[in-house]
């Protein structure tokens, strides 16, 4: 019963019964973190419900229906109640279920959850690590909002939940439940649960091993999925202001257990089982992820006596492998580079040759022109020389004729 150890009777008050108090004080000083993921189609009331649950407005802008793909939007808030600090992270899916082709809708969500596990694993595997001051971003609870059609689960819902049930605690919720009548709601719930069971979807079960809460948890398990209504507006009922939605035919009060399961959800999610949700995330979902990831990386438990050493060896082997791969890639890139340079050189050489040829051609043309011009010039010079000779001969003739008839010229001149 005591793990094989003898039980020792005490003869007086020792004082270690204060150990739980010491633990509580330490935890309070450190503060807690809680991360909720809300999945649901646009318009199922996710943001309003979170606002109602935590009694504040979280400032989430309303999104359109025209997102091209599913995105996740995470926001972290620091809340305080009495002296307990809570770092609350709310992750919303934007654009879920709005696309025409919804095949890839759930993949971003799975990737996000895995990324948080991976971040924690990386921190845990570091040599110098600081786990006790690490801000835990792993998703502790996933609120899955089912549209209040009144019929059954959609294929998208089934597909998404099936891909998430081994990674996160899923709590299915019927959103905007004030659009379903009481009888329809009962049938709807039964149909939903039986569909989940038939398809083997593992949703989160409230724990029933702790005697103090097992009874209430068992009852609550039977009320799943919770049909909730959220509202941040207050309406006067009787002489109090309560959170409610006002219709012409009546007022739906959020915190009235006859109207919807909001109080049950708040009770289960926050008051009773918050710690169990965190514990399950760490001890079950994270461990599963870690095991798969380490096995993927090539680690084995086969020889327990070599554990730390073989971990180091495996690390070294992996590092060597990666290094060799890197060398290979570098070599490849270098080859490609050299190849490209060679090709460019060839092209450039060809271009150079072409230009050279053209230059030669032009030079030849130029030479020909020059020769032609030379010839023309010489011809012209010859003609000029000829002309000069003729002119000289003509002048000589003229002077000769002048000398032979001088009087006649004079007589002519006198007469004139």
């Amino acid at each position: 019963q005591n793990g094989g150890y003898r039980s020792l009777p005490l003869s007086g008050h020792v004082g270690f019964d204060s150990l739980p108090d010491q633990l509580v004080n330490k935890c309070i000083k450190q503060g807690f973190s809680f991360n909720i993921l809300c999945i649901g189609e646009t318009g199922t009331g996710k943001s309003t419900l979170i606002d109602s649950l935590f009694n504040t407005t979280f400032d989430d802008p309303v999104s359109t229906h025209f997102q091209p793909n599913v995105r996740l939007r995470a926001r972290t808030y620091d809340l305080q109640e009495s002296n307990v600090h809570l770092k609350l992270t709310i992750v919303n899916t934007v654009g879920f279920g709005d696309q025409i082709n919804k095949e890839d809708s759930y993949q971003p969500i799975v990737d996000y959850i895995d990324a948080q596990f991976e971040a924690y694993l990386q921190e845990e595997l570091k040599i110098k690590r600081s786990l006790h001051s690490y801000h835990d971003t792993r998703i502790h609870a996933c609120l899955y909002f089912i549209s209040p059609t009144g019929h059954s689960l959609k294929t998208l819902d089934l597909l998404t939940m099936k891909s998430l049930d081994s990674k996160v605690n899923i709590i299915p919720i019927i959103g905007k439940a004030d659009s379903i009548s009481k009888t329809e709601l009962q049938r709807f719930k039964v149909k939903l649960m039986s569909e989940l069971v038939t398809n083997g979807v593992q949703i989160y079960q409230f724990p029933t091993d702790d005697e103090t809460i097992s009874k209430i948890n068992a009852i609550m398990n039977g009320h799943l999925p919770f049909a909730v209504v959220g509202s941040t507006e207050e309406v006067k009922v009787g002489n109090k202001m309560v959170k409610a939605r006002q219709y012409p035919w009546g007022i739906v009060q959020v915190e009235n257990e006859n109207h919807c399961d909001f109080v049950k959800l708040r009770e289960m999610l926050i008051c009773t089982n918050m710690e169990d949700l965190r514990e399950q995330t760490h001890a079950r979902h994270y461990e599963l992820y870690r095991r798969c990831r380490l096995e993927e990386m090539g680690f084995r438990d086969t020889s327990p006596e070599n554990k730390p050493v073989s971990l180091q060896e495996a690390y070294e082997a992996k590092r060597h492998e990666c290094y060799v791969e890197m060398q290979r890639k570098e070599e490849e890139m270098r080859q490609v580079f050299v190849q490209r340079v060679k090709e460019k050189e060839i092209i450039l050489k060809e271009a150079e040759q072409e230009i050279q040829a053209r230059f030669e051609h032009l030079k030849r043309l130029h030479q020909e022109e020059k020769l032609k011009l030379e010839r023309n010039r010489r011809t012209l010079e010859d003609e000029m020389a000829l002309f000069v000779k003729k002119k000289a001969a003509a002048e000589l003739l003229q002077t000769q004729t002048l000398l032979s008839t001088p009087i006649s010229f004079k007589k002519d001149k006198d007469r004139k």
Binding site: S7, V14, S18, A283
Partner: protein, 261 residues
């Protein structure tokens, strides 16, 4: 601590039960072991619904030889072995939900009440061990010192520790709460108890030692600081001891181990 300083008695007084068997009981052979041996005994104790698995490790033979060189080695080896065990479990691919924790959370070192200074053995031991485990030094059998001698001894010890840069628990760098720091700036004293001796002081039964010159009450803070030690180890800092062991000492062991291989 060396034999005869009242280690077993103190543990029995702390936990108000027969945790360790005293070496001075009749029928047990008085034998000083040739080397330092470590003897661990584990019990489960329960108080007001809170169950605790308590492991007390004793070190008979420590400091008892003629040549005490390296007598701290078996102790260091033992402490590191517990860290190693935890590390092995932590690195497994499929690991247990709750890793069994056998690491040493607190090491109580008994200083003999010489009244002068710390001896070289004390300094060497505390220097080496304060790096890997929370060390709580305690002046043993303090009923042989008067109040003034005690105060002086304490001061000298504190100066010695500071001069040699030995940081004993509670370590100064981890004191986040200023009230804690004021409380922790003292080295504890202690007075072994004659179990069941129960003398009568003020007409009621108290835990104490009966001597010819009076009754020394263990739980009277005017007589000895046993209550403070008990409060430190159990009532107020038990969780802190475990946390510092896990977050500081274990982590530095892990860093050393992963770096060396």
């Amino acid at each position: 601590g060396q034999s005869g300083l009242g280690k077993s008695t103190m543990v029995n007084t702390l936990f108000k039960s027969k945790v360790s068997r005293k070496a001075t009981q009749p029928g047990r052979e008085e034998r000083i072991p040739k080397t330092v041996q470590l003897q661990s005994v584990t019990h489960v104790i329960e108080e007001k619904g809170v169950k605790m698995k308590l492991t007390v490790t004793d070190t008979p033979g420590f400091g008892d030889q003629i040549n005490n060189e390296n007598c701290w080695d078996p102790i260091i080896k033992y402490i590191n072995e517990q860290y190693e065990r935890y590390l092995r479990e932590e690195i497994l691919i499929t690991r247990k939900r709750k890793i069994p924790d056998t690491r040493v959370h607190g090491c109580v070192y008994f200083v003999p009440p010489t009244g002068h200074w710390l001896r070289p053995l004390d300094l060497e031991f505390m220097r080496r061990l304060s790096k890997i485990v929370n060390v709580v030094p305690v002046i043993a059998k303090a009923d042989t010192l008067t109040l003034e001698e005690r105060a002086e001894f304490k001061q000298r010890i504190q100066r010695d520790l500071k001069a040699h840069a030995i940081s004993v628990y509670p370590q100064e760098d981890f004191d986040e709460d200023p009230d804690d720091r004021a409380l922790n700036d003292r080295i504890r004293e202690e007075n072994p108890v004659h179990r069941g001796g129960g003398g009568k002081g003020n007409g009621k039964r108290v835990l104490g030692r009966k001597t010819k010159w009076g009754i020394i009450e263990v739980e009277n803070p005017m007589h000895c600081e046993f209550p403070m030690l008990r409060d430190l180890l159990i009532r107020s800092h038990l969780q802190d001891l475990k946390d510092i062991t896990h977050n500081v000492h274990y982590e530095s062991y892990r860093v050393r181990r992963l770096n060396e291989s």
